[in-house]
């Protein structure tokens, strides 16, 4: 196995172009290192992108821009996600209780894994986009269109993610996150993120409900979102929204059966929705 350390993004891309499927990108190594044998056994080249200048968190009029190699700790401790709608990102990472995993793990890694993790669920709820570059072109696509299935994304063999963009939300928007796992150090079994925007008289103007780990790729509950639009959130509406949100085929795996996942998904959606609603009501 070859080990390469590009110093610029262009250099990294030309390496990817040259080695294609045989190359694996690492930054923090949290996912690669324990899975190197079963998942990356055929990899011939390891490209360490830690030296590329992709470690940044910027805010401009469009929204939040996070470099792919920004560590989860850097994002979590950054001022910009300490309040407002972006705070849901803090709450999501706060659910990874081991600080040293947050120190090593990167935002780009969380996004590209397409496995059992939390951050993509919240990012999709916030309408995040990913910047995908290849030697010849660069494209920006919504994160929800980025995933194809378990460990599978739309990334071509010569492409890499360089940035995650999260747009600002309109006033009176709130977002909430909730997850269930077996023990605090385990992978999530179910997670849910909800974003709601309220209009006049606190009627729901826009909503996004995302369920992660119940199936791959993450599920967006369009039917449930439609039930919310134009309504005040009372107990009856919330109950019907939850029912509609979990009207999906949940996967069964070593961590939980589909049936259990569905039960927990109900609770997760309910809690996330409540948090989002409370925050939206309090917002200006």
């Amino acid at each position: 196995m070859k080990y390469l350390i590009p110093s610029t993004t262009d250099e990294a891309l030309s390496m990817l172009d040259k080695y294609g499927e045989a190359a694996v990108i690492v930054a923090g190594g949290v996912f690669f290192t324990p899975h190197r044998e079963e998942l990356f056994g055929e990899a011939e080249v390891l490209i360490n992108i830690g030296k590329l200048e992709l470690n940044y968190i910027n805010v401009d009029e469009e929204g939040l821009k996070i470099g792919a190699t920004t560590s989860l700790t850097s994002l979590m401790t950054s001022e910009v996600i300490s309040k407002g709608v972006f705070r849901v990102l803090f709450e999501t990472m706060d659910e990874i209780p081991i600080k040293r995993i947050r120190d090593m793990g990167t935002v780009g890694g969380e996004v590209c894994m397409s496995a059992e993790n939390d951050l993509p669920t919240s990012l999709i709820a916030l309408d995040a986009k990913v910047v995908v570059v290849s030697p010849t072109k660069s494209r920006i696509l919504p994160l929800e269109e980025f995933y194809l299935g378990y460990l599978s994304t739309v990334l071509e063999s010569n492409e890499m993610v360089t940035e995650i963009q999260v747009p600002h939300s309109p006033p009176k928007t709130g977002a909430g996150f909730c997850k269930f796992e077996r023990g605090t150090v385990d992978l999530p079994i179910v997670n849910a993120a909800v974003r709601v925007t309220l209009g006049p008289n606190d009627k729901c103007k826009a909503a996004k409900i995302v369920l992660g780990c119940v199936a791959f790729p993450p599920v967006i509950a369009y039917n449930a979102e439609n039930l919310l639009i134009g309504k005040n959130l009372d107990g009856k509406i919330i109950a019907s929204v939850i029912e509609a949100a979990v009207d999906i085929e949940c996967i069964t795996d070593i961590r939980a059966s589909g049936e259990l996942r569905k039960r927990w998904a109900k609770v997760a959606v309910g809690k996330a929705l409540n948090k989002a609603y409370e925050q939206a009501k309090g917002g200006k």
Binding site: Y3, G29, V30, T33, I98, K99, R100, M104, T184, V185
Partner: protein, 160 residues
């Protein structure tokens, strides 16, 4: 294809040829003979393999050795004074208050606690518990481990 790297472990430079997929924990144990670093879960859940990298606790089973090049690594072997043999105050406290049963988690516990005390010499019990959240003790000695860390903090400050 092996990569030649230099690891700075406990203040000493070591030239090692590593395969790019080798974890730091593996290299420390198998190539440098520093078996104080334990490998248990091998996926970052238990904290037994904790070492300090530039003063920060890192799960060495998740860290590729190639990514550790040029960083200052401290393992449990580097904590005591090599010349006088004097133990670190945390090691003293763990012995004095029996902060272990089987002892497998101890190196990781002590190094994580060291990083905490270096940053915050006067931690509260809650802060100690939060810092040690990534270190599991199968024997369930948490109560005494926390007591040891608080006692070591006290000693470092010049108390009893």
């Amino acid at each position: 294809m092996a990569v030649a790297i230099t690891l700075i472990v406990n203040g000493e430079g070591h030239k090692v040829d590593v395969e790019p997929w080798w974890s730091l924990a593996y290299v420390l144990r198998e190539k440098l003979g520093l078996t104080g670093t334990k490998i248990m879960c091998n996926n970052g859940a238990c904290g037994s393999c904790t070492v300090l990298m530039n003063g920060q606790p890192v799960s060495s089973c998740l860290k590729l050795a190639v990514l550790a090049e040029g960083k200052n690594i401290t393992t449990i072997e580097g904590l005591a004074n090599t010349e006088t043999g004097e133990l670190h105050s945390l090691q003293e406290a763990f012995i004095k208050y029996s902060g272990m049963q089987c002892g497998t988690c101890t190196p990781g516990m002590i190094l994580t606690a060291k990083a905490l005390l270096d940053e915050n010499p006067v931690p509260t019990e809650d802060e100690v518990r939060e810092a040690l959240a990534g270190n599991l003790c199968r024997c369930g000695s948490y109560k005494r481990i926390v007591q040891c860390v608080l006692a070591a903090a006290e000693t470092t400050r010049g108390g009893a």
